[in-house]
Amino acid sequence: MLEMQDPTSGVKSQTQRLVITTIPHALTGEDVAAWLAKRFNIDTAEACAIGTMMVAFGYIYPLRDHKRLVLKPDASLYRFQTPYFWPAQQWPVEDTDYAIYLAKRNIRKKGVLELYEQEQYNNLHKWLNHKWDFIVMQAKEQYRAGKERKKPDRVVFDCQERAYWVIHRPPPGTVSAMDLGLLRLVDPNQDEVKVSCKYTSCFSPLSLQIIFTEQCIMRPRVKSSVSLGAIVKYMTTYKLHDPFLAPVLPSNPWLTDDNSFWKLNMPYADNPTKMRVERWTFSFGELLSDPLGRDGFRLFLKKEFSSENLAFWEACEEVKWGTAASIHEKAQQIYKTFLARGAPRWINIDGKTMEVTVRGLKHPHRYVLDAAQTHIYMLMKKDKYGRYIKSPVYKDIQKKAIDPELHNFSEAQIEQNAKKRRPSLSPIILRQMEEEQKAKLAASAPVDITQLCRFTAPVPHLAVYSGICETQSMASPGLAALPNSAACPSPISVAIDSTPASERRFDGSHSGTASHFPSITESIETSVGTAGEEESQTPVARPRMTLSLGRLLRRGCNASSVFASLSPKCAVAAGSGRVTPLGTEPQPHTQHRRLANFFQIKVDIPPECRIYPIDSEDEQESPGSARGGVKEIICPWESITK
């Protein structure tokens, strides 16, 4: 800055000539640009850019067109700003000063201020009301003091002040250079203060370096060709969806101040836009992260009778992102609903993951369900996602998606839009809307189609699964309290007593032959919140169950004695002592052998690991049995010790 005004080597200074007076020290834009280019050895475009920055920050101000703070490389004139008004020292720019300035302008122009200035004035009058007398007084005094000066000086000062305030209180629709930068919290030129961590303080700097390099080695690495390929692929898929690279329909709200784009793309809008629907095909993550996408997917899964996967995934997300206080109960709820044996909406994860998860549920933390969630995510991605994209549900949504028209605003309309700017919905309201949506979703509990079918007719597929138990499978709405029957009515939660969706449990027991269990997953989806007992296919079947009707109602119990004996729910306390588990996790597509194996694994776990977190709730459901005071849990392993 200082160099620029050197009379010999600086920018050529010129005289501004007004009607009567002349004011020296004006510069033309092109001279400034040329001088910058010469001084710093850069080309003109860059010199213009630097010059524009200087103008934008307020070191030079334009004499005409004072609101557009750019350096025009032509004969338009500029002048240096006096250091009093420089932003370099970062003095705070206060509202009081602005109020005084506006009042002064008001005086000078006798009430004719620009629109935005008027608004600001009114605001300040409201907020600074207690100081207002002072402000007016000071404004008057400054005005009078200014009038004392010679005419050209006065003009210069007015110009300076006006330029100063254009920068610090920019008129609407302009970009302010002050938005960032000056208010940064960290001064980039300052040396960083190393925060000494208590772990690192006991290490010498060399050992710290060693640790650092070791960690570097351990980090997973990817070949650059691979990662570059990934970037290219990402770019090509998303390039039409990026509002920076491609124009957005109907119009970019940041440019035209018209927020219909945002309204159309609200998370719970009625009809998604075509672009949004297209995004769902990009990756499974995209689909899941969009609530509308998830809705469509949920519908599809319901038709395929595997919506418990998505429900489980969503429940895990809730745990992860919810409040710390609710983790415990949410995790329990999830266990009861999805993970426990005989859970109504049992999900299909492998044994190891199940083991790990259940163990972790003893002391639940935020990420306790992470392994299971990932497993389910992968399952859904590999299997269901591809099918969903080809499914009629998705095609339907695609057809219904809307394609908004491009807006075509004129300049005047854009200005009008700018005036109509309003703040967006408060996050509180958005959160409420989300909650409402969730409540709506939960209220419309998934009515399982299979259950209805089962009601109406002895579903043929049941026969497929278990020839033996077919008769038993017709559990009337109520229960089949056959003493020897193997069929149990499905778990009915107390709440949903009225619609006892019966689950067919098949006792493939008698012969130990595997009966394919019905796709229990479907049947599980009926009632929420209760876990039923599944049948296992242990060979022993000694029906010793004498369950009361009530019990049956509350928890579908296996009529099979084996299970009964082993089930804490059953009145029969004395189990066979055998290490026969209560119920297999019904794995419809897995083999009997595997189930048994699975069992064995489970069974071998010593009873000490009563990891099951659910406690008191299930107390009522477990019959008195030997454990009077001890909290009953559904944990199947417990029965072993009986």
């Binding site: 004499l63 240096f80 009081t96 009430g111 007016v136 404004a139 005094e141 300076q160």
Partner: protein, 242 residues
Amino acid sequence: MNRWRRSVGELQARRRQVTECEQALAALSKVTACFQQMASSLGSNTDGGGLREELAEIRAIAHRIYTGLHRRLITLLTEMEHGQEDREQVERLWVLFLSGLETFQKDLRKANSLQELFPLTQRRDRNTLIKTGSSGGSEVAARAATVQTPWVSAGEERCPDLQTQISRLDALLQEMLQRVNVPVWTVESTQEAWVEAGKEEVDDDETLEDLMQVEVVSQDSTTTGCCHHSNCRLGCILCLLT
């Protein structure tokens, strides 16, 4: 009867004091405005030893005014109990005084750092001053000098130099904020918005924007007159005039 007369006398005395304070506040306002005008040319080509001396003088006047005002307002506030008629006015004066001092403090700080940035101790430092196009003059200082304190002040302390003045003013402001229990927001302004526009005397001068309409003629251009200049509009008339 005596008591009544005494109380009337007290009332009158207090009212006199209050008006005195108001006048002092107006004077302080005037002085600070002048100070600001002159401080804005620090570092510009009009800067010089003379300017800085004038600034110091103005500072001194301001110092006199505000120390006296401070003292008087404090005594007034502590005397009057809550609920008396003048109390509201005194509180208002207090808040205005506070804001005035804050503004002045800001200007003092700016002036201080500017004076450090552009020291004038050596001759060659004059080259570093920014050419802003103004030509200086001490009219403003003259205006400031006409300000008088409404009370007779004799034997007041000398004005300290800039640094000490700043730090003392800091301390004063702190003390003011803490000592006196006047919540700032209870004061209401006596003026409506937009009122001040109509009151001022009519200004004969053209507004700034009109002045700026005229094009500039480059000094070293070889064209004979404005007429040939590509951007010129009124230039021809100018030529004729000058």
